[in-house]
Amino acid sequence: MFNQETLDKYSPLDNKVYQLMDDDGIPLSKSWKPSISKEQIMQAYKDLLFERTADFMAISYQRQGRMFTYPPNLGQEAIHIAAGMVMQENDWLVPAFRELGAWLAKGVSLREIFLYFKGNEDGSRFEKANRVLPVAVPIASQLVHAVGLGYAMNYQQEKAAVFAFVGDGGTSEGDFHEALNFAAVWNAPVVFIIQNNQFAISVPLKMQTKSINLAIKGIAYAVPSIVVDGNDLFAMQEVLAFARKHAIEGKGPMLIEARTFRMGAHTTSDDPTKYRTKDEEEEWALKDPLKRIKGYITAKKLMDFSGEEAMVKEFKKKIDLEFEAAEKHPEYPLDDVFAYMYQDMPSELKRQKNAYENYLQNKGGDQ
């Protein structure tokens, strides 16, 4: 199991990837045993399958014109599911925008996620989820928020960690740098997770940075850092669990590069064939995180997958219900444009709202 000793021996300069299973889900070491129970493994498999199903459905809703832009998670789910297993109720989740499974694990409903991507801020209210920040669109800007949360956890003497996500592209932004540095200086309990999916829209990693990996960037701040196989659910789970412990024990931030691949498009308006090869895609398909966890389960004979089709059907029904609930969400009222800008609506906003209402009232039938 990943522990302090493993970390102490690890250096990102060696450019090694922390990995527990091979591409087929067979453990690399005979002596290794999962640190999670069989039930948890089965649950993780189901959650991953659910995320993937929801993701596919989302894309198809989008294609049907029932939703706007949507960023697919395909291929990166193990990271999200592992984070979901590790995060506790009082931990904070600070997402970028491609962490579907992690949001769900924290209690965000699919209905809300769909609602958000349909274009309604109500989808970011997260009625039942605590301590989840909304999608952060401006790349890397969320990382400094995470550090502020971390400072507050220390200040309030709460034993809680902050899980902050960013993409490989995001590591180029100034806010990435400032966040890591502040987190280190403040000893903030933040677990930074880079989802290195090899691309920032069309820009490949090698045009993003010259460094041999992204975990290496932690050295600049004296933040312990590690490259993990992001498609290896076990490896991710172990490292994240360790990082959480590290954080809440007052040992400060960690930086985790989860190496993965965006198997789908950047968003539903993107066409990856413009900038990457089929070969590359096929190579990474071999490392599909779902395939790998299924390989493990099969090898260990934990279950057979005869029920999978039925389960997916079940999932789809549930997902459809959530989507329909999002579609049935009340019409966006004019009020909502103004109501949430400030706690008490300033008279200037009332004035502007009134003017609009007067227009609506007076424009009559002919326009």
Binding site: V137, E173, G174, S202, T209, Y332, L334, V337, M341, Y356
Partner: protein, 325 residues
């Protein structure tokens, strides 16, 4: 002549200038191989090489700041901010340096760079993809700020921006990127920065607008015409400097003025235009110069956007109020 939409016209302007002037480079996020998320730079890397048209790492402050360095060394960088809302991380470089290097060094170092920014709402986008930040730039001494409303103007103004010896913020109304098709010459031409265009001449009221609002205003003017009202429409084209002459002439004639901008109201672009109207034509005013603008709110996500974005109907409604004043 070839018929082009605005994306094609802008692409053509860059293509034309890249071919003519070896000191021009084009870069930003995804502008190279991908040709830009709106395909505005499509094909340029293939034609002019990856040293001249290329992807940069994902960092707007550096994109802007490196452009300043290149410009000082004699290049003419054309950079892209992928969306309006992502120009903010570059503000310090734009406001503190790009806008000021000429003045700071008493003309020794100059920054003939162009910063392209697709801007504005109406495309059903995520947050930060629908902003109208032109007033921030307009309020920053040392910049010129240009916004075309047609493919023809887009090409001519972009070429003028590229040839301008000073930094130009070139804002592209993404909502009408592909909405208007027009004959656009394939050869080089330019439209002077700082000169407004009278889109429609009229007698009773002046509308001042720019960018995507021109098309909406035109629709409203058609409606007004049915009522027998004669409305003049000025396309500002340049947010700074502002063509006071054209505004003065028009408002002195009509006595009534409506400013239409998508940007939010307080301290927004419309306020400046109202001040200019007061300064230039106070005695001619027969009704209060009026502004129809975005609210002092964040522009809502797509499902709420309809309230925020100004429709021809709302413009017409204000026209009517002003005419009947």
């Amino acid at each position: 002549m070839k018929v082009m939409n605005m994306v094609q016209a802008i692409n053509n302007a860059m293509d034309t200038m890249l071919a003519e002037d070896k000191s021009i480079v084009v870069y930003g996020e995804d502008v190279g191989v991908e040709g830009g998320v709106f395909r505005v730079t499509e094909g340029l890397q293939g034609k002019h090489g990856a040293e001249r048209v290329f992807d940069s790492p994902l960092a707007e402050s550096a994109i802007a700041g490196t452009a300043l360095g290149m410009a000082i060394a004699g290049l003419k960088p054309i950079i892209e901010m992928q969306f309006d809302g992502f120009s903010y991380p570059a503000f310090n470089q734009i406001l503190s340096h790009i806008a000021r290097f000429r003045n700071r060094t008493r003309g020794k170092f100059t920054v003939p760079a162009v910063i392209r920014i697709p801007y504005g709402g109406g495309i059903n986008a995520l947050e930060h993809h629908s902003e109208s930040p032109e007033a921030y730039f307009g309020h920053t001494p040392g910049l010129k700020v240009v916004i075309p409303s047609t493919p023809y103007d887009a090409k001519g103004l972009l070429i003028a921006a590229i040839e301008d010896p000073d930094p130009v913020i070139f804002m592209e109304p993404k909502r009408i990127y592909r909405a208007i098709k027009q004959e656009v010459p394939e050869e080089k031409y330019s439209i002077p920065i700082g000169k407004a265009r009278v889109v429609n001449s009229g007698e009773q009221l002046t509308i001042i607008a720019y960018g995507a609002m021109i098309r909406e205003a035109q629709k409203a003017i058609v409606m007004a015409k049915q009522k027998g009202w004669s409305v003049e429409l000025i396309d500002l084209r340049s947010i700074w400097p502002i063509d006071r002459d054209t505004i003065r002439e028009s408002v002195r004639k009509t006595g009534r003025v409506l400013i239409v901008t998508e940007a939010s109201q307080s301290y927004g672009p419309a306020a400046e235009l109202i001040s200019i109207v007061n300064e230039e034509a106070f005695l001619s005013l027969e009704a209060p110069p009026t502004r129809l603008t975005g609210f002092d709110t964040v522009i809502p996500l797509p499902l709420g956007e309809k309230y925020y974005i100004i429709s021809p109907e709302r413009i017409f409604y204000e026209i009517e109020k002003l005419i009947r004043y």
